[in-house]
């Protein structure tokens, strides 16, 4: 991550049209890529949970889905702070921004529903919301290819006039790797917390059963 920050702030050349604020790109896009990957991870874990009913998949799903909210928020907030000086507005309801916002809302609602449902209902209800969220990801990704948007067309793989200078590519690659490493570290911590949570829930249930049976 330090290498990425060095490249972003000290090494990569400043973009000619937008100036220094274009450097937001090196965190804005990797944050989106991580949130998409996390959404797919959570979605696949949810499908596996529905098929196998193994709680480890539910733990993986909650860890991934919380990181969708974290990295999705970073993506949207940083994008908004890039938009203000360049477009003159913080936000516009174009296809890309709206679909990204809906994705964030789906995952925020997942977290709310997770807290509001009982342990028996939780896994299945949350898995269904999570699969719906995963289905929104291709729509977000394709939105600026399918519709005319205020958000710029794809810089990479977006057609003849798209592309980056070699130094920008290198910085982008390192930033992407750093963001995925950060995500992986956060996922490991969150999975540990999810297992602890499950342990507390199981012991609480056992304690209640013993209290009801008059043994404690």
């Amino acid at each position: 991550m330090l290498a990425a920050l060095y490249l972003i702030f000290l090494w990569v050349p400043t973009e000619a049209t937008m100036g220094i604020v274009q450097r937001i790109f090196y965190f804005h896009v990797p944050a989106a890529a991580v949130s998409f990957t996390a959404a797919f991870t959570g979605g696949i874990a949810s499908i596996l949970y529905l098929v196998k009913r193994d709680s480890k998949y539910d733990d993986l799903s909650v860890a991934a889905n919380e990181s969708v909210v974290l990295f999705g928020s970073i993506n949207i907030v940083m994008g908004s702070m890039w938009a203000k000086p360049i477009w003159g507005i913080w936000w516009t309801w174009d296809a890309r921004l709206t679909s990204s916002f809906i994705l964030l809302l789906i995952y925020a609602s997942y977290l709310v529903v997770r807290r509001a449902t009982t342990a028996e209902q939780r896994g299945v209800v949350c898995a269904v919301i999570c699969i719906l969220g995963m289905l929104d990801v291709p729509l977000v990704y394709m939105s600026n290819r399918l519709f005319r948007t205020q958000h710029p067309a794809p810089v990479m793989g977006g057609g003849e006039n798209s592309g980056l200078a070699p130094q920008m590519w290198a910085t982008f690659g390192v930033s992407m790797a750093a963001m995925f490493l950060l995500w992986w570290s956060i996922m490991r911590i969150r999975l540990r917390v999810a297992r602890l949570d499950r342990g507390v829930e199981d012991l609480t249930r056992r304690t209640h059963e013993l209290v009801d049976a008059g043994a404690v």
Binding site: M18, I24, M78, M81, I189, L196, G199, L203
Partner: protein, 53 residues
């Protein structure tokens, strides 16, 4: 000459890092609280008296 948009760059990265560290802080607090609850529950279950026949 300093770019007039330098402050936007600063604030964007600042907010990004605040979100990351805020989440990590929340996670570590949650982990601590769960560990202490788990320890209390284990203690409670170990202390449970033997039922008399």
């Amino acid at each position: 000459m300093t770019d007039p948009n330098l402050s936007w760059l600063f604030w964007a990265y600042g907010v990004g890092w605040v979100l990351i560290f805020g989440y990590l802080f929340w996670l570590s607090r949650r982990e601590q609280s769960l560990r202490s609850r788990l320890a209390r529950l284990r203690e409670l279950l170990e202390k449970k008296p033997e039922r008399k026949p």
